[in-house]
Symmetry: C2
Subunit: 409 residues, 2 copies
């Protein structure tokens, strides 16, 4: 029998308790031993719940209990999660976490401590909720060099974009509705400004490149500027607007970015709608693969945490090696990143020549009344910025700009 | 350094050689040792190729060489693959295979022999080509009870159906073109009659249920009866026609089937087009996940074989447990399987009452000249058959029938 502790009895924590109870028998078969929750750490009381007699407020009780082999950390946030997890690993306890902030900031250090102590630090649930992506990257795509990962990594923004498109509503209206439904936070910046997707792509990029990508190095834009006019142009282009976190190798360099993107409707991510997430991976031999599922939510996320707990139980005393060194991965400067973009401005026919004098030949997108749109050729972000400044100096105000996924047919 | 042998220098075999050469350095990092090919078994000669000095015709040379730790079996077919693989495992060599016939027929026996001999029998490439699906089922979705697996498991038929739809061509024309392109065999029955998909869903169902599903127990229909009229009805219904291999739990029973199905355009599999495969999995806690990628082809399939070789090298002397007992899984009789179906007949208004007298209230599908179509309510396959016979006896000839995926919104 394996004894575990759950840190935090919030949404995911209560999900972990539920999953371990619901599937107790099948989990015991797969873990080759039964898994019992000995403690739940939370400062609140939960009278009448299944955990009321398991609750402790003092983390040291868990830490000092040698019976506890595995800790599920589902509190979120860097502190006190970081301190708790580090202490657990140093005490020879494995940790399964859903905490993307923790993993993005301290992943390589915690992996190294786990290795030294012959235990495991597992974080399948930190990206894509229940979708298996961390383990496939580490264990399945090992014959490949990963050339690109592009993901719809945030369910809240994908719900908002899907609803804006289908119901022709503006951002603020849909955000309000998402907040009422509990899909978006009262302070929605982490989602709508792309910060959540940024931490997740930093984790995926670190695993793809094998060295540490600092999320603070990643140029990140959110979806707050997207409007109905953009969806009208997207429809005219037979494309979809999605918030994409991506990293790519370019020759011997690499970049990462989070921004809204226009995807062709043949791109596997283009049909990933509502709160679902999708993660597209391109390997140099496997070609294109995609992983799809619920990117958040109580039970899907708990499913991934519990799968990691099972793995930790099965690998007691044996570290599963994960290639994520603490050496910083130096990314390309934002200005060097290749880009192809759609831009639009208020309809003034006399500006067509101006645009072409600055951008050369562009593809004009017709069909949206009161606006003109065009798609640039391929250039660098630096060149794009310079040209946009030049347009501004010459009196043309660009209303919005959205990058295009141009690699995949 | 690990030494391996490759059995068969056909499409996949030459892919395995290419992948191990192309990604030699990154593979050595992930396997924690370099992987060298010592032998390639093939009866032909391949002068001027990278393997010309590695070729052997006598399998015993490989079997008796204690330096060879892992064998990649990529010959296909049950014999002599079965004999070769069994001997290898008994000699303490791990095997990675892409051979679905072998795995579907002898999977549990070979897994048991591998376990007894502290080696591994790995078969990621046997389903879905490069798509990671076997390892995620065994290692990632362990917190879940698998309720359903539905897959587009055969790239050839998916290519044919996609082309029939997009170019409004009939089956025979597209099959001919697929044969000319090398996507379909001269004798295409294994693909177009669903036999290939049948073996693959038998493997997936066995892993989902943990006991052996005999592919011969699975009711299997192919795509040869699908015509342009069906695609016109599908368009009117906003649905897609796909060849689906599926297995589902129904209370404490389970069934498996291969047949064309109509999928709603919100179903994650509905946008899996061309030669791509997609595998949809529903767990009782994770909800819906899908895995997408190239389901066949030299390099994608080789990528999965090599990933298994790497896993075998890393787990030298240690069996990775796979739950697939040789106990036969008794499936529901075909007549008991729940079904909802679309059926069509030559347009004769006077038959509407006849259909409703037999099926009760049905949903009529309009918009296809010269034909009438309807969607039945939910019933069993047995009830459906009885009603179709009754219609026939009363003089109504059903031109074609396609089942509907009705569970997923």
């Amino acid at each position: 029998m394996a004894k575990i502790a759950v840190l935090g009895y919030g949404t995911v924590g209560s999900g972990v308790v539920e999953v371990l109870s619901t599937n107790k028998d099948s989990i015991a078969v797969k873990a080759e031993t039964s898994i019992d929750i000995k403690y739940v750490l939370d400062l609140k009381e939960f009278p009448g719940t299944p955990v009321e007699n398991l609750l402790v407020k003092d983390y040291d009780i868990i830490l000092e209990d040698e019976e506890v082999d595995v800790i599920a950390e589902v509190m979120g946030g860097v502190e006190p999660a970081y301190t708790f997890v580090k202490k657990a690993l140093l005490k020879g306890k494995s940790v399964a976490t859903s905490n993307k902030e923790l993993v993005a900031k301290h992943g390589p250090e915690l992996l190294a401590i786990a290795k030294e102590n012959h235990v495991n630090f597992l974080f399948e649930a930190s990206v894509g909720g229940g979708i298996p992506i961390i383990r496939p990257l580490n264990k399945s795509l090992t014959a490949d060099e990963i050339m690109e990962i592009s993901g719809i990594l945030n369910g809240t923004t994908n719900f908002i974009l899907t609803k804006m498109k289908n119901e022709r509503l503006d951002f603020d209206t849909v955000l309000k509705e998402a907040q009422d439904l509990g899909y978006a936070e009262l302070h929605p910046e982490a989602d709508v400004e792309g910060y959540d997707a940024c931490r997740k792509i930093a984790i995926l990029a670190s695993l793809a490149f094998g060295s540490h990508v600092d999320f603070e190095d990643i140029h990140t834009e959110g979806i707050t500027k997207i409007s109905q006019v953009d969806f009208q142009f997207a429809e005219a282009m037979k494309m979809e607007i999605k918030l994409i976190g991506r990293c790519e190798k370019v020759d011997d360099k690499a970049f990462a970015m989070v921004s809204p993107m226009l995807l062709s409707d043949t791109h596997p991510l283009s049909h990933v709608d509502d709160v679902f997430n999708g993660i597209f991976v391109q390997g140099n031999v496997i070609g294109d693969v995609m992983f799809y599922g619920a990117g958040a939510g109580k039970l899907p996320t708990a499913s991934a945490v519990v799968a990691d707990v099972i793995d930790a139980v099965k690998h007691k005393g044996k570290n599963i090696i994960v290639k994520w060194s603490s050496d910083p991965k130096v990314l390309m400067a934002t200005e060097e990143i290749p880009v192809k973009a759609f831009a639009r401005f208020a309809d003034t026919d006399e500006k067509i020549e101006l645009v072409e004098s600055v951008f050369g030949s562009v593809e004009w997108i017709e069909g949206v009344e009161g606006h003109k749109g065009f798609v640039t050729g391929e250039m660098t972000e630096g060149e794009l910025s310079t040209k946009l400044v030049e347009l501004g100096q010459k009196g043309l105000v660009i209303e919005n700009l959205i990058r295009l996924e141009s690699k995949v047919a």
